[in-house]
Symmetry: C2
Subunit: 357 residues, 2 copies
């Protein structure tokens, strides 16, 4: 399905087109009408405005669409390709157009991996080096070196298990590897050989991630592999997989118990996927009982987390309000992905990041 | 000066010998008497006890000594080799034995680099990803995603200048490189070619650092090079050089002004060297006037920082009480260095980390 003269691209993102992008698109695809609209912020919902809010003439005739919150199917009448501004597609579950076999959906996986992996490794280092303890001392203007009574264990030689070895998991692996950690990858399906371990068909920012899958010391897959992974004695468990029927509640009481038994409660759990992948009650218990050494959560279940929720006050937990995807480079990266997928569309090649629905 | 039958090694460190170490030393150097004493903590001074406090018979006849706080010259009568447990030797300035040409001093440079580089990059990431803002929200149990009103700039493509390209600087470079940053090294003397860029004669934990000096995109040296470095538009400036007469007050008003002019106030300054390398009054001013985006300080001038000192409350500063060297791997790493230097001593070869006094 090459580009045709009727194609109209609407980009609705929280920033303008990068300098030169519109000109480059016009040169490369002279027949393509491009409408780039800056999406406003819906502060109350901590979300971006939906494309529905745009004037009807902006929506009219759009065939290629790039958005973050799903618009109503009505606003997407002629759309045949949707480029999501998110790595996950769970917000689209049940949406008419998502269910339509004739509409191709591509995630923006790879555009968030740099900042999210930084969030993960930053939270890990802050935890290991007791930054919040020192922050608290600083607020009281207290110099207390507590030499050796709160020992630091650095990352060299520590074990990290990564659930989901996509763009985010691979960039976490790159950083963990630089810290000298042993990386274990867990994937849904088996990756027995080099070709299967490549990050094929997916967008990556050049020079990031682990495109060949060369970093992991071992690979695990499926349910049995998940149990093997948790039995390794992990120092860090990174959750970076999509929310699906089979990943909902994946990390629950038995898993926290297993982490504790294998690692004497020293595992730190980072969730940058979706809140419901973790059983929240079990997580609060695990923190309170010291089954894990702590957790960093950019996602929770529910979201927003209500003020009275016990998770806020659980010991050794760090919570941010679903912001780890934020970066001033996000829009430029998505713009790069759009351009690449326009090329592929025009050449009739498979698009990057196409979602298997 | 090979080992001789009179040699007596006293190790006074805040932890026991690693499992098997004493046995290995006894096998390899059967004539060597080894005394390994665990150094207690002087909580009031946030320091380790001095070796002077040991019983006279433990100090008697010691020729090889490994310590952290300098003992009195009286307690070091026959000592000919001193292995410091610190990367810096500034605590020894003016000490009789340090001034004695006949006594060889070796730093433990390389044994702290992993944990200190983690501290640096953790502080950098925490700053860039607004962790303290979210920590504060968490204390108030507040979910506020503030979508895009506090933008994150991730590290990919950002510029880091590293003052002092020793063990700590090189490990910072390794981590920054994995984050996709452009690394600029500054050294005291010129490093024009590959051999001069190697980290020769220095201990490194295997698999860490940048032993060949391959990472920096550019090298700078001396006063002129320092001005060139500051003019690059740095996102991060890491201070990792020894405190000497020529580095005291190195980063002062003109340097903060230059950083501001070149980088529009976005430079984040990390000091993990010694407090007096930075002019404290100038730093407080730079923070208050926004000449830099913030600072992370594991060292201050003075230390301990008094409760009423304005630095505690300066905007965008993170202060820890000289603890970044802490790691449960420190003593095992120093033990590895001692063993290596015993080998070299016995073979009559130059010792690792020998300090040019």
């Amino acid at each position: 399905m090459p580009l045709n003269p009727d194609d109209k691209l609407l980009v609705h993102l929280p920033g303008p087109a990068p300098a030169g992008w519109l000109e480059a698109a016009a040169r490369r695809f002279p027949g393509l009408e491009v409408r780039w609209e800056v999406a406003g912020v819906d502060a109350a919902a901590s979300d971006l405005e939906r494309a529905d809010a745009l004037p009807p003439e902006t929506l009219a005739g759009v065939t290629l669409l790039c958005v973050y919150p799903p618009p109503s199917p009505r606003a997407m009448e002629r759309v045949r390709v949707v480029q999501l501004a998110s790595a996950g597609s769970d917000r689209w579950l049940g949406h008419d157009k998502f269910g339509d076999e004739g509409v191709v959906f591509c995630s923006s996986s790879g555009c968030q991996s740099v900042q999210i992996a930084e969030w993960v490794m930053g939270a890990w280092l802050a935890h290991r080096h007791h930054f919040r303890l020192y922050d608290e001392q600083q607020r009281r203007a207290t110099w207390n070196a507590r030499v050796l009574d709160k020992p630091v264990a650095d990352s060299l030689g520590r074990r990290v298990g990564i659930l989901g070895y996509g763009s985010i998991g691979r960039q976490c692996a790159r950083l963990a590897h630089a810290l000298g950690m042993r990386v274990y990858a867990h994937t849904r399906t088996e990756r027995p050989d080099a070709p299967s371990r490549r990050h094929a068909g997916c967008y990556s920012v050049p020079g990031t991630g682990d495109p060949d899958g060369a970093i992991p010391a071992r690979w695990f897959h499926g349910d049995a592999g998940f149990r093997q992974l948790l039995a390794l004695g992990l120092d860090l468990l990174v959750i970076a997989l999509p929310l699906t029927a089979s990943t909902r509640g994946l990390v629950a009481r038995p898993q926290f118990r297993q982490l504790h038994d294998a690692s004497a409660g020293r595992t730190f759990v980072c969730n940058v996927a979706r809140g419901p992948v973790v059983d929240t009650d079990a997580l609060v218990e695990a923190l309170e009982q010291g089954l894990i050494s702590g957790a960093a959560l950019d996602v929770t279940d529910p979201e927003p987390l209500p003020p009275q929720h016990p998770l806020w006050k659980a010991p050794n937990v760090f919570i941010t309000p679903h912001v780890s995807w934020q970066s001033d480079a996000l829009v430029p990266r998505i713009a790069g992905l759009i351009m690449e997928n326009l090329e592929r569309l025009d050449r009739g090649e498979p698009l990057l990041n196409q979602i298997k629905k």
